[in-house]
């Protein structure tokens, strides 16, 4: 927010206008930075960055439970700090992001809503649950219900006083629930309903015990990673997807609304993957307070590359399962909701416009892009997380937040000041610089991998060759798809080079090795 305020001041002092009259500019300047910061605060004040969201046990840090303070103070102070911070976040956004646009944005109830959402998230994440994974369901359902009530009130143009009356009572209620949650966590009171599912568990257990031995150490490590993180993404997608699919029943004959919903559905797995990646990229996910590699993992007789490879394979499996969910449920929902005819009609239009082969390739390209983006989101943070250096990890978080904060106003400035043409002309240069940076980093990483013997020579060459094949394949498709004199082929080559992941994924073994052998 400080960065946002500083930018805003610079922008205003220099007299650069920012117009918030379009949805895009409003989203870029206000919504994206606010959401990114709010999400980070939410994770921080619920201690969600340290705990296991799917566990039955409370996510309240165990070591704090023994502090010589009352339960009310123990639960209350993080909530008060959180509420104050979130409230200030809104007020700062209100002051720095919207001023001096003259927009009539309410001040009180959005702040109360933000505080209420945080308070409920704290209460519900600190509560012990009788079943693993139940916390995620309860949190999502409860927060969605609050959102739905607020949206309903807005739809009927409720006055600010009514909005305050709806939201304000929830805050003390959430505090009471949070105190109860921490009290139960302090007593070690974790209800257990797993007995009710004992027969199912026994079946699973028999299967596991009857399971054959692992074919290799790498297979065992992949299983380990899968059990640790593999189900996170599919579970989250399974929770969110029904809410999105239900929207298909309210589409009616609106083609644009249908396409918006479908785009939202297809962006859900990569979006959720960005959050699931936080756990995947931690070098010690069993101990939230430690960034070093857990000795149990560090002493596996595997190279750092094999340890990273297990994570990459797990991410592939996780991505496949998540996308199977999407690809199976979406056609069924389209059929049942009666919107399949609208989709087929849209497809017919695209086919007529582009021709059958290009339309099919475009569809496959979009699908492959979304699937690849999901996997990339899961693994691209490994090279930061696996370093185990808290300062690097925090710096990267702030860098991303800073990017979100800067990107909106920058894009808005380019659009509004009529410099779009200049940027378009400079695109080859920009891409050229980015490609040069990427290839320089790749060479440096390659030398480190070779020098530290983290990869066998053959694997290094095979990896580089595979990457080249992928780049040329994408380049070929792009040239065929965008056969126009307006876009030079070398630009498409630069796009292909920038699109196919290389540096961040290949840097992960170097990062882990740095952390593992300190």
């Amino acid at each position: 927010m400080i960065v946002l305020a500083a930018i805003k001041l610079v922008v205003i002092v220099r007299g650069i206008p920012i117009y918030l009259d379009s949805a895009e500019s409003f989203a870029f300047v206000v919504v994206v930075p606010l959401t990114a910061t709010f999400t980070y605060f939410l994770a921080m004040f619920t201690f969600g960055l340290d705990g296991d969201l799917a566990a039955r046990q409370s996510m309240f840090p165990a070591r704090r439970l023994t502090l010589p303070v009352t339960t009310t103070a123990l639960a209350g102070w993080p909530m008060i700090y959180g509420s104050a911070t979130i409230g200030l976040l809104w007020l700062a956004t209100r002051a720095f992001a919207l001023w001096p646009s003259g927009f009539a944005i309410p001040t009180i109830w959005p702040a109360l809503l933000a505080v209420s959402l945080l308070a409920w998230t704290q209460a519900l994440t600190w509560m012990p649950y009788p079943l693993p994974g139940l916390r995620i369901v309860v949190v999502v359902v409860w927060l969605s219900a609050i959102d739905a009530i607020v949206l309903l009130a807005l739809t009927f143009h409720a006055r600010e006083l009514l909005m305050v009356a709806i939201i304000a009572p929830q805050i003390p209620l959430a505090y009471v629930v949070a105190r109860l949650a921490v009290a139960r966590a302090r007593r070690g009171d974790v209800p257990d309903w797993r007995g009710a599912f004992a027969s199912l568990a026994r079946v699973g257990h028999t299967d596991a015990r009857a399971g054959r031995h692992f074919s290799s150490p790498a297979a065992a490590q992949t299983w380990f990673e899968w059990r640790r993180h593999g189900w996170s993404l599919p579970t989250w997608v399974a929770i969110v997807l029904p809410f999105e699919l239900v929207l298909l029943w309210v589409v009616g004959a609106s083609r644009s609304l249908l396409l918006t919903i479908l785009v939202g559905i297809f962006l859900t797995p990569p979006f959720i993957a960005t959050f699931a990646a936080a756990a995947v990229s931690k070098s010690n996910s069993d101990r939230g307070d430690s960034n070093g590699v857990a000795p149990f993992v560090a002493t596996r007789p595997l190279s750092s590359t094999e340890l990273v490879a297990a994570k990459l394979k797990m991410a592939i499996g996780s991505t496949v399962v998540a996308w199977l969910l999407v690809l199976i449920t979406v056609p069924i929902a389209l059929k049942l909701s009666g919107t399949s005819a609208l989709v087929l009609d849209t497809w017919h239009h695209v086919r007529v416009f582009m021709g059958m082969p290009r339309a099919v390739v475009l569809l496959l390209l979009i699908l492959a892009g979304c699937i690849a983006a999901t996997w990339t989101q899961l693994v691209q943070g490994l090279f930061i997380g696996l370093t185990g250096r808290a300062s690097l990890i925090k710096a990267s978080v702030f860098l991303v937040l800073g990017f979100f904060v800067l990107f909106g106003p920058f894009l808005d400035w380019i659009t509004d000041s009529g410099r779009l043409g200049v940027v378009w002309s400079a695109l080859p240069l920009i891409f050229g610089v980015l490609v040069a940076a990427k290839m320089t980093a790749a060479v440096w990483i390659g030398l480190r991998l070779y020098g530290k013997r983290l990869l066998k020579d053959r694997t290094l060459v095979a990896g580089a060759a595979s990457w080249c094949v992928a780049v040329f394949a994408l380049y070929g498709v792009l040239v065929w798809m965008l056969d126009t004199p307006h876009i030079p082929h070398y630009l498409l080559m630069l796009v292909a080079i920038l699109t196919i992941p290389l540096v961040r994924v290949s840097a992960a073994p170097v990062a882990l090795s740095w952390n593992r052998h300190r």
Binding site: H205, A208, G211, H213, F224, P295, H517, R518
Partner: protein, 253 residues
């Protein structure tokens, strides 16, 4: 130097600093094959830091570390596949069941002995269906011993294995050490501040204090050298004479 005569652990002039604190100062140590080596010292003396270097979890800032003639940082697979390790923290994954952990650990060691693992599991009365996180500290230590022993490693490294455990579990750990050395040529490195335990099983004792090796010799020689008026002092008494404080009572400040 042949394979047989290569020291299992060969540390030369190893120094390690954490910021301004010197954790290890010019440590030189050579452990030949076979026997039980006790590494004793107060809390914070540098025992765990030394063991972490042996496992390759810390990289030598100055000096060198060789295990089986290999650098544990450059060749973690070559070194770790021959080491059985029980850590002080005992950070076994709590979400695994005992049988899953056995199946998982088995995959890393071709020499894994299923019969021996089962024998250990039964003698330790471990329920294969139990989740690790639900086990007591002593049971977790037993599981740790099981997976460290079942492939009969060339080198068994135990870092303060008895810390906070009851006498029965400590007996199991000492039993594990005895089982290991029953196999000729195998080596045990056993770090502890409970000197009476070390005294029971160690052939050779290395005393470490403030990151420096103050004494390293066969136990029998140490006792003989400290004999006073025909009385052989205990290892604890010898340690106090050398360092000025008993490792069992010293508290790290």
């Amino acid at each position: 130097m042949t394979h047989e005569t290569t020291p299992v652990i060969d540390i030369n002039n190893l120094t390690r600093r954490f910021d301004s604190k010197t954790a290890l100062a010019s440590v030189t140590l050579s452990l030949p094959r076979g026997g039980v080596y006790g590494l004793v010292g107060t809390n914070g003396a540098g025992k765990t830091t030394l063991i972490k270097h042996i496992l390759g979890l810390l990289k030598a800032q100055t000096g060198s570390v060789r295990v089986f003639g290999l650098d544990p940082v450059d060749d973690p697979v070559g070194v770790l596949s021959r080491i059985g390790y029980l850590s002080e923290e005992n950070d076994l994954p709590g979400w695994m069941r005992v049988d899953e952990l056995i199946r998982y650990s088995r995959a890393f060691h071709p020499a894994w002995d299923d019969d021996y693992a089962e024998e250990l599991r039964q003698s330790f009365a471990l329920d294969p269906a139990a989740k690790i996180r639900n086990l007591s500290k002593g049971q977790k230590a037993r599981v740790g011993i099981l997976i460290a022993l079942a492939y009969r490693p060339d080198l068994l490294v135990l870092d303060e294995p008895s810390s906070g455990l009851d006498p029965i579990v400590r007996r199991d750990i000492l039993g594990a050490i005895i089982r290991t050395i029953a196999h000729e040529g195998r080596t045990v490195l056993f770090s502890s501040h409970l000197l009476e335990e070390v005294e029971q099983v160690a052939d050779h004792v290395t005393m470490i204090d403030h990151g420096k090796v103050v004494l390293s010799a066969p136990l029998a020689d140490i006792r003989e050298a400290h004999r006073v008026d025909g009385r052989i002092p205990s290892l604890d008494e010898i340690f106090i004479a050398r360092v000025g404080v008993s490792p069992a009572t010293a508290v790290e400040v």
